[in-house]
Amino acid sequence: MTLLLMSSLLSMKMQTCKARVLVLMLSVIFWAASYSCAAWASAQPNNPYPEDEDKQVILYESFSERPKHMDPAVAYSSNEYAFIAQIYEPPFQYHYLKRPYQVVPLTATRMPEVIYLNQKGDKLEQGANDNDIAFTDYMIEIQHGIRYQPHPALATNTQGDYEYHQLSTAQIKAATSLNDFNITGSRELTAEDYVYQIKRLAHPKIQSPIAEIMKNYIVGFDNFSRQVKDKPKTAIRNLPIAGVTALSRYQYRIRIKGKYPQFIYWLAMPFFSPMPWEADVFYDQAGLADKNITLDWFPIGTGPYLMAENNPNRRMILLKNPLFHLETYPTEGEPEDKQKGLLTDAGKQLPFIDKVVFMLEKETIPYWTKFLQGYYDASGIASDSFDQAIQFTGSGGVALTPTLLEKGIQLQTSVTTSSFYMGFNMLDATVGGATEQARKLRQAIAIAVDYEEFISIFMNGRGVAAQGVLPPGIYGFAESKEGINPYIYDWLDGKAQRKKIDAARQLMAEAGYAGGIDPKTKEALILYFDTTATSVDDRPRMNWYRKQFEKLGIKLVIRATDYNRFQEKMRTGNAQLFVWGWNADYPDPENFFFLLYGANSKVQYGGENAANYHNPEFDRLFEQMRNMDNSEQRYRIIQQLQEIARHDAPWIFGFHPKNFALFHSWYKNLKPNLMANNQLKYTRIDTAARAEKRQQWNEPVFWPLVLGGVVFVLMLIPAVNAYRRRVKETKR
């Protein structure tokens, strides 16, 4: 185009001819531009989706990191659960609306019958002494008539033989994706499928992240694991596992060692979803893995959705499972749920959405822009866009900015069931140990490190300063004055106030470090902070930490290193101070206090107790508390555990992050549920409102393009004149 334009302009000979050609060209450009504008304006040229999807009931979401696993025995990350929790169905789930979190049946007909047994295998009464309980049986009965999604692994021919269980080389060669196997089939879900999945958890070749934990609980798990170590995955079907038995087509039993009430939470996680044996037989055929056709990428479940497209490099698509069993929207919730419109769909059949499209979006700028354009239905708030989305009110609360309010966007906030803390290595000679001197030093530092300030500066206020081990929402978390950490905070004017720095200095003096001077060296006490924060962006945070320690006269040395070296230091006990976090597996205090349990010490036992804290009294109380059902007595023990942890201060209790999520006005049935991962089935979209808003927000603007074109052509005129002058001069 440019070449043509240039040569045509340069070949003009007469002034009048030049003017005519110019007018002609400008007219062509103008009409071409007008035509394009008219054609494009009727649609939304910036719409990243096909136009015919506009009126369909499709939810658009994004993902920034490709999930590594779709096999429910292996997947353990939130970005993996976002998909598989919609596809697989464990026997139990969390109630969507009720709080505190409550486990309810999903594919099970009712909550499991829990039977306690003594060492001889005799049944014990409910409420039996914990010491007498040698085993616990979970008797689970599943619903009749639940069917698997249509899948090639279950396809059979007229003789009843499996269509694709013995693929020929040609068939494998021709296949590029699971969709190339045209025939699909289904069958009823049976108790045996749940048993089979537990066997899969035990198989070393599957590499389930919870295999090592389950060895401690499920009877026969460890033996089975050893037995099948060298066998193929498909061999486990006919091998029995002592503790897990299908009692009938619809009932199975899991026998665990001792008493472990938290086991019910595991049964609500995708790890314990059913798996048809046919899946392993189909996917294990040689050659399919070379084409990425594996169970790890193409799930097979009974849930409300099935995976129609798995392209983690670009897009993942879930479609409504046509064989999904009857499940209805909850009819009960918290008292205010009805007022909030959360029970409008009560009793209606789930799911409401036909298709869910997850688009890969790695950068926050395009992600945020697409959300504002209405092309994503929900969004988180990155720090880059925080100021555009949120403003602080006079009372310290948060609200949406007028621009977002104008668009009808809804803000949903919730404190996560996570804890971030700065840990002291209790094996360290300076900050560790149970001596009074070390304890006072730790407490002084805990006062000085002002996490309220940290939350304000580095998290845009998206967090709550921690008062103890437990985050809000976990049983045993105490509110108000009862729940504060008295060693760090005072209760003043109805709220927790961090103690003055003088109190910390006093503690330093009592610890033998008056003014922050180390009596051994007569110089400022030097402490070492090990971290993985190596980038330039992390520098302000590290400087902030230094300043917090400087308040006490302590010199903090930052030892930034890569993740692997950091992990190594933690494993070998060579770190002194570190920052760590924990996200709840399930809503039980045991899942947090075990982080300080002596038998979980990282250095000694390779456990999750990164501070290597060991207090016999704490351990005794923890062992007592962990097997108890929630009760007044359990609550009291939890408060005792909190008190010991606050007093000994192996951690500086940091913060519990606050989730801020934005949703468009057409997004319905919104309620944060930090435990359930299968919320998609409850979500409803008002597609008509979405189409209208998208049209309104995305009208293309063409005039700058037309103007640019005209300016470009006008700029060529002096160039042409100059050229013609030069040609004339050359000729002379």
């Binding site: 440019t2 590594k68 990350s77 890969l360 950068e363 697409k370 050229y723």
Partner: protein, 325 residues
Amino acid sequence: MTQYIIRRLLYSLPLLMGVNILTFVLFFVVNSPGDMARMQLGQKHVTEQSIANWKQQHGYDVPLLWNSDAQGEKKITDTIFYQKSVGLFLFRFGVSDSGRNIGADIKERAWPSLAVALPTLIVGLLVNICFALLMVLFRNSYLEHAGIVLCVILMSISSLFYIIGGQFFIGKILRLVPISGYDDGMAAIKFLILPVLIGVFSGIGSGARWYRTLFLEEVEKDYVRTARAKGLSETQTLFQHVLPNAMIPILTGVVVVLPLLFMGSLIMESFFSIPGLGSYTIDAINSQDFAIVRAMVFLGSVLYVIGLLLTDISYTLVDPRVRLS
């Protein structure tokens, strides 16, 4: 020439082996197989047993370079280096540490990379040549000076700015194209307009200045003077004589990058969510997936060797005086 090509291909074998060893050593100086296992297994409930299982499953439970416990040739073959490297020379990239087949991923991701890189290269070449020719046409005038200043300004701006600025102005303010994304077949066009436009625009500064230098060198030569003396116009001289002669360095410069177009652009693909090989490599580095890093480095080396070979061959095609021996 056939002999020359065969010889060059044989020369590349030790080169590729060297690259492979270097990648291997550099990677394992920083990471041990245990580190890789921890990275893949996540942070929760990772035990020594699960790490041992992972290493055994992924073939990282043997020594790195030398197996002193083995007998005979197994001292070499029963090592991570041997088992992970030999397949590369047959283009069997194996399975990534996260379990996906690398070859299948590369096949799938090479096309989106090419879909962005090829139009960017062709359109960019045309635009740069036109701009450079215009500057030469108006040499020693205020137009040329303005062109050079514009080129320097364009060169001075970070490519990241072009990307973010382009997304903001064309995608967000004008709402003319999707701000990011990708689709199959012809539906991909609307997603490619913006990255190609930005790719071309960000390359004008350096490209046009480089071509201008080549053209200026040519216009001073005797044959150009002769052409002018014969009465050809300046346009005819430039397009019919200067341009074909200046194409030799341009063409060879282009041919060398042709195979590498498959490798994609790291930043562009990330910002526009284009599922190409550029973002594949970056993701692999971030997740310490040695299998992918090794495969991509090897593939990059192979393509570079091919590019250099093609350049040599292209010399003989565009300049009959050059003979390969």
